[in-house]
Symmetry: C2
Subunit: 352 residues, 2 copies
């Protein structure tokens, strides 16, 4: 691997690729301090034409030709069988071979996860990968929530693995020294929830896992920002995230309807326009774009499929910060403590 950071980019993934991809690289290239290079995989003619219009991106990018692109509707199994040679496949392979420090794609989520797992394999000490997203919080920052959809189920030990990885993600991206962590539940009391969650809470406490652990939080604590990292299984996390997104969209729609409902409403909105524009930027999902697929031997960042250039640049920012962090070394000690405690508890159960 050369000096400096290399990010591998799927040039053809997403609803508005390759345009927003090159635009995103351009925004990121102008924003970061330099020293980052980009391998953009995809259709060389289309990418070259776009790079000609984005000189900042062109100066730090190399086009890696790929013969095809994976569609947004293709199933993961199909992507595994037919994906070889695609921009997505090659972008991931560049991380596997050590050419790049991380991969970013706005493409097909299922295909991205399946090929990443197949090529990069699980990290030692991790049983299941997790998808970690960021969500705006009332305190002006954001909350990391995981798993938001990599697995449908998770047992207690796996939930603790998610907690360990999510905390390191939050630390690397936000710079917070000791992010607080909690498990998502239907109440704050110890006896609430199902067995997996209670086992996870017990494991964190008894295993001596080094986390700033705050027990259980409820659904409304996500937006409140009660803790920095919210841990749950992929079924609940996916539904919580999408319910929150749907609610934000509904409120936004009702607000637009209200502010265009008559001449006075329109005049008021016009006068308050700068403030409303700032609000809209704050709620823009692009601001917190970039979900991390955690637990693999390599950094895998998923951009929202409908992201614009600014959103894709945010996802690149996540990849860059993670690649500059010592994420893997940092979680190793915690994963080891967890594995030892889980073995002991399993042995006790057998004896008992």
């Amino acid at each position: 691997m050369p000096d400096g950071l290399v990010l591998s980019i799927d040039g053809m993934g997403g609803d508005h690729a390759p345009d927003i991809v090159v635009e995103g690289v351009d925004i990121a290239a102008r924003a970061n301090a330099g020293g980052v290079r980009y391998l953009i995989h995809g259709d060389p003619a289309r990418l070259a034409a776009l790079l000609d219009r984005h000189p900042a991106a062109k100066a730090v990018s190399e086009i890696v030709p790929a013969e095809k692109a994976i569609g947004m509707e293709i199933k993961p199994s199909q992507a595994l069988r037919q994906g070889k040679g695609s921009s997505l496949w090659n972008a991931i392979a560049a991380v596997e071979s050590g050419q790049a420090n991380a991969v970013v794609s706005a493409g097909n989520t299922g295909a991205f996860m399946a090929i990443s797992m197949f090529r990069l394999r699980m990290m030692e000490g991790v049983h299941r990968p997790a998808l970690a997203a960021r969500w705006p919080a009332a305190n002006g920052g954001y909350v990391v929530i995981l798993d938001v959809g990599a697995n449908v189920e998770a047992n207690g030990e796996q939930l603790v693995e998610f907690a360990i990885m999510g905390e390191a993600f939050q630390r690397a991206v936000s710079g917070a020294a000791r992010p607080t962590v909690a498990l998502l539940n239907v109440g704050a009391e110890d006896q609430k929830g199902h067995e997996e969650i209670r086992t996870a809470a017990r494991l964190i406490r008894e295993a001596g896992v080094d986390l700033n652990f705050r027990g259980f939080v409820e659904g409304d604590d996500i937006s409140k920002g009660t803790v920095d990292v919210v841990v749950t299984d992929g079924f609940t996390g996916n539904i919580a995230l999408k319910t929150g997104e749907g609610t934000a969209r509904l409120v936004g729609q009702l607000l637009r309807e209200a502010l265009t409902s008559g001449p006075f409403a329109k005049l008021g909105a016009l006068i308050a326009y700068p403030a409303l524009k700032k609000l809209s930027a704050r709620m823009d999902p692009g601001t917190f774009n970039g979900a991390l697929f955690l637990g693999l031997n390599g950094l895998v960042v998923k951009s929202h499929g409908g992201a614009n250039g600014r959103g894709f640049a945010a996802a690149i920012g996540v990849a860059e910060k993670m690649a500059r962090s010592h994420y893997r070394e940092e979680i190793a000690a915690n994963l080891k403590r967890l594995a030892e405690a889980a073995t002991t508890i399993a042995a006790e159960k057998e004896v008992g």
Copy 2:
């Protein structure tokens, strides 16, 4: 039971009881066509003083003295042991004895559910009760979502019971002839989700349960109003509902901050005030207050603990509409079909 409807009201339950309770009865009494009487259980002196100030409520209410009230922090097990003689207990007992058609309380949720289950027992053909809430949707109406917290887990057959009860609830309250129903999942495809959900979908289709069933929906479909009834287990439903509430609160807070952030923003907000006020009413959780505790031999309506008088009146409205419906007769045929199909499938499994 006398002619006309009788609603049993816990006068002392909720953060702002008994004031908002009497206020709510007053609003409801002025709104409904008449013929509804209220039994208000609680401290006779305080209730009498409040009724003196609310003549519409006074004209149709009877105070039923109760010697104590159940606090908001008491655990369900404690409420079962010590709750006898409380306003909540007596309010439920009035439904059990046939004096009243439904009970409404803004009090302690856990205590309300535990005492209701203990006194009223499960309906025949229902294995577990469910808490059903309403959520505003983009189409101007609302969605019924259940279970939002009565049970942590639910198997396939229980999810179908929830679907049957939730559909009847939506029909009774909204007046829609054929509400659409779906199961909450992480994707719309048949193979998505965990076993319980896939079993539920199969049971609805194979058992010939009479529902306008639309398969699976995702979290963002709740606010979109893609279907009229969204069915899930109590763990996921509770977290989804609270995540949505938290998001709506966050957006509201950011909007208030934006519209008070400077002189122009304030002026704009002032001019657009009537439109913003309408928006705020539309998003007011009180509008859709009144969760139904389904599956018991009696109608049990839970008001939000922090509800104001208008919110409590909305919960009374739910109780009234359900009491005027033929809810129990309507779900009997579907529950029977489900039980037969579940038995057949279980037998097939044993043979297989």
